[in-house]
């Protein structure tokens, strides 16, 4: 499984960009990540998850997941991200620190 993760905005304005290859993760981490993806319903999300609100100091995400024969890309505004997605976004952000793309 390959995840391309991008996070921009936020108070700090620090961009994160990473390519996360699950084969670089431990088996436990891989399992936990797959479980998070399923629980969050990632593959059922529309291509854009936004609201009409101006998200002052909020994050913007661009996430692509390629898993087996499934490939899905979602652009998300934090303002519109439901609670169910938060744990996944946090996990991906932490993984992005390890697998940062220059």
């Amino acid at each position: 499984m390959i995840i391309i993760f991008e996070r921009t905005g936020g108070f700090a304005g620090i961009s994160q960009r990473a390519v996360i290859d699950s084969s670089d993760l431990s088996p436990e981490e891989q399992q936990a990540l797959e479980a998070l993806l399923e629980r969050s319903g990632f593959f059922d999300l529309p291509p854009r998850v936004t609201s009409g609100e101006e998200g002052v100091d909020r994050f913007q995400y661009l996430v692509t997941v390629e898993h087996g024969d499934r490939k899905h890309t979602v652009a998300l505004d934090e303002v519109a991200v439901p609670e169910t997605l938060q744990p996944l976004m946090r996990k991906l952000s932490l993984l992005a620190r390890r697998f940062r793309s220059p």
């Binding site: 921009t8 905005g9 936020g10 108070f11 700090a12 304005g13 620090i14 961009s15 609100e53 101006e54 998200g55 002052v56 100091d57 909020r58 994050f59 913007q60 609670e83 938060q86 744990p87 946090r90 952000s93 932490l94 620190r97 940062r100």
Partner: protein
Amino acid sequence: MSRHPISCILPPYMLDQIAQNGTPEQRQKAELTATLTAQFRASRLEMAARPSAVPRAPGVAMRQRSVYTANFGSSLPGQLVRAEGAPPSGDAAVDEAYDGSGATYDLYWDVYQRNSIDGSGMRLDSTVHYQQGYDNAFWNGQQMVYGDGDEDLPPAQRLFNRFTISIDVIGHELTHGVTQHTGNLVYSNQPGALNESFSDVFGTLVKQRTLGQTVDQADWLIGAGLFTANVQGVALRSMKEPGTAYNDPVLGKDPQPGHMSDYVNTTSDNGGVHINSGIPNRAFYLTAKEIGGFAWEKAGRIWYVTLRDRIRSTTNFQQAADLTYAVAGELFGANSLEQMAVKNGWAGVGITVGSSSDGDTPQGCLQSVLKAFGIR
């Protein structure tokens, strides 16, 4: 750009000259001008005196702070922990949010006679412990919200502390509320970067005033204290030297420009609102440094009056430069030290005041008023 007559001051002795030496028609117009300029002066004094466009709430202006905890979830505002007047809770995030919003209220009231975010004593609500491992803070249109940074990770892995730890973060978020109720700058591209900059400006003024720092004593850093020792960086942003706040193997390098020639054209971050804010931030720093003393007294006043009275939702950098220059002239006099500092501050970031092309050739005050009354 031609000067609107209301921005001009036509000295009475010039009107006297016209009244003495002009044609009958010019004398009549000079008398009319004298009456109107007196009205303009009275109107300007009134505008400078009022704290907001909304009538002041009755009674004494006072802080009404409430600090809530979201208990590491997402529901807002969450559970009330500390109400106005209550003693310290012992929870660092709660007490920092309480103290910081108080200090921000005090800057706006004591120095600028603004009664809270909306000018009418609006409550100051903060929620702390938002989500788990939330490395951010924001203003949601009604309240401030703060995360705990990386406090969910082992210390060796932490990059961010809790976001209430820096008082300028609190001032920054509250100022988003002030901007919403005044200039209401759209949160994208140059207006958005201005929006961000006003928040950094007044955020840092809250910090400087709390510490009693002059422009030379201040560090002009935003979010100093947010990074842990695991990060190669001193702060999130530097108003003094944009682009130098951090350079870290994990977080990357501070991307801020400090000059228009380095303006970042991007679609990320709503058109780079946290990136290009470096340019107006440095313009304010240069202005305040040239004026000297306490930055909130003169430079901050120019910026505050501009935000309150002149900024529009689509104001760009050039227009903001022209507006701060005009306001400085009104508050401190044409060609005053303060007005020159504003001009030099913007010049330092590559923006020349008065150089926006509106079609007209630039006109000074005398020409503009005379033209308005058909004398030229």
